[in-house]
């Protein structure tokens, strides 16, 4: 056991910190700091800045731009990025489809897709969920039927995050209706500009339009866009979802918001002092800080143990607790905002209330999603109970 980082790791961290705080656009970082919404251009530009420096896909195979870092270094990379308010590389590209193509794709697919995926020349969307297939993903019905070398796809996906910006969508489709449901699924890559693809926005409770329905009507997809064997899609889906879980607990970002929350509390009058002097507020912050520290240490334990790229089963702990704490901190911030939390739709109009207060309720409402997507927290408990505890 060892408490301190080695000198090399310390230097590595310092270097990253300098890069993130000096090379990434200040406007983008300010938007993240203010909890604003990033534009597509901001997401893409940041991702490319990272990629140019070899910092977008360090966890990929070296051949495709990976760095062969230790799990600890990967963790430091992720944490430093969040601490510096740098939006992490687009998850659909960097953590989801990229690693799947690298692991399961043909040489041709790797050459064709991996470089533009690493650089977001292709903006990927995730087309897994359907209206009838959420937690029970394997019951999906969007069908792909062979027509010569091609596939003809019909059906509907839903909850497609940022689908309005997507160039391509990686999907799970039913290629065999006659076998056990997990055994008849394949993974297809679909160009979203193909005829027959329609994207319709869904409005969420925070007023935003980050998710969409994606409809497929007789969409022709070339056979070469199938990833892995026909009917083997469930294997790739599980691989992808395991990675999604590891990346989805944003400890670094939650820590940063909590640190900001203390500044906001200290700047808010309450009684004779500030909210930070209020013992109720202070106890709540202390509790959150401790819980976050326990989670970060757990993350460090888990990353140190994830062998040969496979997520440690305890990654469910990270997803479960990570999203709960992310939500708890957003709830703290709405409470710090107090009546200021009402000033939501100020738009261009003047408001004397600080930006963080005005954004606090939409952010709180929006983050209710964190315990739903990426394998809901109930599903994580199921995994812990079943896989880990053998119940």
């Amino acid at each position: 056991m060892r408490l301190q980082l080695s000198e090399e790791d310390e230097a590595f961290r310092a270097e990253l910190r300098t890069f993130f705080t000096t090379e990434v656009d200040e406007g983008v970082r300010a938007t993240v700091r203010d909890r604003g919404e990033l534009t597509k251009d901001q997401i893409v530009a940041t991702h490319r800045t990272l990629n140019a420096a070899g910092l977008a896909v360090p966890h990929w195979p070296v051949e495709w731009g990976g760095k062969d870092w230790s799990p600890l270094r990967r963790h430091l990379w992720h944490e430093e990025m969040q601490r510096a308010c740098v939006p992490p590389p687009l998850a659909f590209n960097a953590s989801m489809i990229g690693p799947v193509i690298a692991a399961f794709g043909t040489q041709e697919q790797k050459e064709r897709f991996l470089p533009p995926t690493a650089n977001v020349d292709i903006f990927w969307s995730q087309g897994f969920s359907e209206p009838g297939a959420g937690s029970d993903l394997a019951s999906l019905r969007t069908a792909a039927v062979r027509d010569g070398d091609d596939w003809i796809v019909n059906g509907q996906k839903t909850w497609t995050t940022l689908g309005q910006w997507g160039d391509w969508i990686f999907t799970l489709v039913r290629t065999n209706p006659d076998v056990k449901k997990q055994a008849g699924i394949s993974m297809l890559l679909i160009d979203m500009r193909s005829p027959g693809v329609e994207v319709r926005p869904i409005e969420l409770i925070d007023g935003g339009h980050e998710v969409n329905e994606v409809w497929f009507t007789d969409v022709r997809v070339p056979g070469e866009n199938l990833v892995g064997e026909v009917d083997s899609g469930w294997t790739q889906a599980k691989f992808l979802l395991g990675n999604e879980r590891v990346g989805v607990a944003p400890v670094g970002a939650t820590k940063r918001v909590l640190a900001q929350a203390k500044e906001w509390a200290a700047a808010t009058r309450s009684g004779d002092g500030t909210l930070l002097d209020d013992p109720h507020v202070a106890v709540r912050i202390a509790e959150l800080e401790n819980e976050l520290m326990a989670l970060e240490l757990t993350a460090l334990r888990v990353v140190a143990n994830s062998a040969d790229g496979k997520p440690h089963p305890a990654s469910s702990v990270l997803k479960l607790r990570g999203t709960e704490l992310q939500q708890a901190v957003s709830e703290l911030v709405v409470d710090l905002a107090g009546p200021g939390a009402l000033a939501f739709g100020t738009g261009e109009a003047d408001s004397d209330l600080p930006v963080w207060a005005r954004r606090s309720t939409p952010t709180y409402l929006n983050l209710r999603k964190a315990s739903i997507y990426g394998g809901s927290n109930e599903v994580q408990r199921q995994i812990i109970a079943g896989t880990i505890l053998g119940l």
Binding site: T158, L204, V334, F344, T346, L365
Partner: protein, 383 residues
Amino acid sequence: MDFELDEEQQALREAARSLLSKRYADFETRRGTVADAPGFDRDTWSRMAEMGLLGLPFTEGDGGMGAGPVEVAVVAEEVGRVIAPEPFLTSVVLAGGLVAATGTAEQRAELLGGLASGESLVALAHAEPGARWTSTAAGVRAEQGDGGWRLTGVKEPVPQGAEADVLVVSAALPEGGTGLFTIAGDADGVTRNGYRAPDGSRAARVALDGAVATPLGEAGQDQATAIAAAYDGARVAAAQQAVGAMQVALETTAGYLNSREQFGVPLKRFQALTFRAADLYVAVELARSLALWAAMVHADPDTSAEERTTAATRAWAQASKAGRLVGQEAIQLHGGIGMTAEYSVGSYTAHLTTLDHLLGDARHHLARLAATVGDHAEVDPLG
């Protein structure tokens, strides 16, 4: 002690339910209504006036119905059940309640008469940027000159601040204390920037720049106690409004667990989910008990001001805590659909959150209660 509504109160509930639940039977109608200015339905507001709901708590002499806190709570529950966007709580109960408590006979007749008939919308401009649920004003100052009183400073957020015909404004008095004034919404020196609150209701920043104001009640008098009492009255009604909202969010959630299928079975087959729904039921019933009790305490002429404050604080602390739980769980148990604007439970959650920050969250009120735990050996609802 008797928690049953009498016949008249039941009739009131039926009438309010029939009007509001008919108008907002379809959730899409509410969505459409809050999307457009003024954020509520003028026609429904008029019908509420005709039914006597807008003058419910005011004396007949002031143009009202002379009903009490229990009747107000009954209506508030119906408002909550459909999260009706009409500003019953903020304009009638809160702003109207303060006018009723502090206005001169003439002011009451004029302001409450106009409010009760639905002809004039009254809003309370009390909250100030940087202040939290206090009963005093500091950011808006009152000065007396040749032309009478003038107010300067910023009020925000002011519920219905941009739509109101009359603003009831609190202000720091030159001699100390917090006074109350009325200002016409469109008066000179008043700048209003309206916006949507998270639940679709409307609020505003109201900037006053030497706006000419009329003292409400006796000029120069400190009204902090009356402001606190009006907020307490609003908390009692809001507790019942929240109970109405929670009840429907819970029913909707239970309905969803019954019908939504995953893994080839309805979600209700997963005990992990049904137990959570059961916990929500427990939370709603406990909140309902305290809310009803607080309304009775407020309706009883023999209770002291202190008892009324404590009752309001207890009821709202419980409703706030339960509302947080029910709102969060209603979304979670629905999964993705609960996050959408088109489906109702997310809006119920947004409304409960908005009420929380309008009136003070559970922790704020528990802190107030914590300061008094040394004053009594045990708590006794029967006094």
